[in-house]
Symmetry: C2
Subunit: 301 residues, 2 copies
């Protein structure tokens, strides 16, 4: 079943204790598309400016990613982010964010994408997320991400969006902020009341928790010793989840758990190098290899 992704495609500069990557490909939808395309074809919807380096497109073209929803807007500049991670790299300090074209009118979903069944709305203004939803003709599963900015400043808008999606993937801090609850299972249950049928709470190195009406369970992170740049970990996790769900065309409980396992494996690939270096070089065989190791790690008598 077709998988549509929206979100930012940008130019990042990232500093971590392991080095600096300047003016590299970044953005939630870029990480998502590269990760998900290891599992299923991806339809990408986004907008960049005239300054977007055309050679950045090569990594997408090497994959089964349909770029016909990628608009290059005349007279506009590409979204830029400069972030820095220190210490245990558990969170980034944003040194500079230039919204540029992301602050203008959102891109349109091309007509031939509007029949998409599985849809991921990466983090952006919740009202814009709803404009994408309104363009879909027969969605089966819509999942969104969000961030503190919208939870704090645009809560009513976000609640409207939550009433229109089937799932939400957010991190532990965002889940606590949105729900007002410290305990993450309780937080997830509060978020369920806002509309979604499942909530996935990402806990970074501590893995991820799924809460639905039927169950709550945690899977640990895929263990990797060489985290160089955590940027894109969350979008890569979502990519593994949504890529698998679209590939098997299901989203029941066992499917969601299998999907989270793929998310853990694909996120672990992304963070092992700067920007898209490792995720763009990865293969489906590498995902399968990590999945086998992950399953083995979680198996015991």
């Amino acid at each position: 079943m077709s998988l549509l992704a929206t979100g930012t495609i940008g130019i990042d500069t990232v500093e971590t204790p392991h080095g600096v990557a300047r003016d590299v490909l970044g953005g939630s939808a870029a990480y998502f598309a590269l990760g998900a395309s290891l599992l299923t074809p991806v339809r990408l919807v986004g907008v960049v400016g005239e300054d977007f380096p055309s050679d950045f497109l090569r990594v997408f073209k090497n994959r089964d990613i349909d770029l016909s929803g990628l608009e290059t807007r005349a007279g506009a500049k590409t979204f830029r982010w400069h972030g820095k991670y220190v210490g245990d790299m558990s969170s980034a300090e944003s040194l500079r964010t230039d919204l540029n074209v992301v602050g203008e009118a959102p891109p349109r979903i091309p007509d031939h994408f509007t029949d998409s069944g599985f849809v991921f709305l990466a983090n952006t203004h919740p009202a814009i997320q709803r404009t994408f939803i309104a363009q879909l003709k027969a969605p089966k599963l819509i999942v969104c991400d969000t961030m503190n900015l919208w939870i704090n400043g645009h809560r009513d808008d976000l609640l409207k969006t939550l009433g229109e999606v089937d799932g939400i993937i957010l991190n532990d801090g965002e889940a606590r902020l949105l729900s007002g609850k410290d305990d993450l299972v309780t937080a997830g249950m509060e978020v369920l009341k806002m509309g979604p049928i499942f909530v996935v709470i990402k806990k970074g190195e501590h893995g991820a928790l799924l809460v639905s009406a039927d169950e709550a369970f945690t899977l640990p992170a895929y263990p990797t010793r060489q985290v160089k740049d955590p940027t894109g970990a969350g979008d890569s996790f979502a990519a593994g989840m949504m890529g698998h769900l679209a590939a098997i065309d299901r989203f029941d409980g066992p499917a969601l758990k299998s999907a989270m396992a793929r998310g853990a494996c694909i996120a672990s690939i992304t963070i092992e190098d700067f920007s898209m270096r490792s995720i763009s070089a990865a293969t489906p065989a590498e995902v399968e290899k990590r999945l086998a190791r992950y399953k083995s790690m979680l198996s015991f008598d």
Copy 2:
């Protein structure tokens, strides 16, 4: 194979957001013995004072726990601890600690216990831990716990003890303090250099990590929504681990992982009520039931 446990047996007063338990059975060896006895017979070595309520012994007598190494010392008072947990209960504030008899000469291991193959040395002064080791005739696997007090103030003594044990179970903060490393896998590898063949790092609600020369893996905590009193969680985790290893008389990699799973299940039982209430009422069937649910949680296609 026989399992010997040493550590404190005391009288606790514990305050949590869910209530207060005054003058109840506490102590690392008490939690350990009750947890491990759900899986294998336990030989308990400890010392209490004349004030120790004899009815506190009933919970041990209901289990396969040999109390012939439990000394009631004339003229001495029992170890007492008063602790308080607030907020998310991730750590206790010690309001009062009276070492009493625990500050005096340690108990002796009875002659008929000195052939024990599996040995758990719960947290106490590392020099005292070594006096226990010196009394053992043919140990197969010695595992110890420790705490910040010894890491900070008695490091040389602790390093000597680490040179004489096979495994150590400690929490994330202690592992970072002992190793000087933030990343927990790296911290575990540093601790391996100090002597043990495996290091288990407990991460509270985030599960536990095992590091050995061959592997590093994480298992999540067993999910429970009703944490009333976290006291004894770590000792119960160790109990599940050591109880299982002694029961199957192995401590290879797969055995250690199976043992950690039992640890997660038994710790989850302990924290669902104050003091020993839930762990003393638990049955082997309850452990099996949780283990089946835990396995199912960690299984996916």
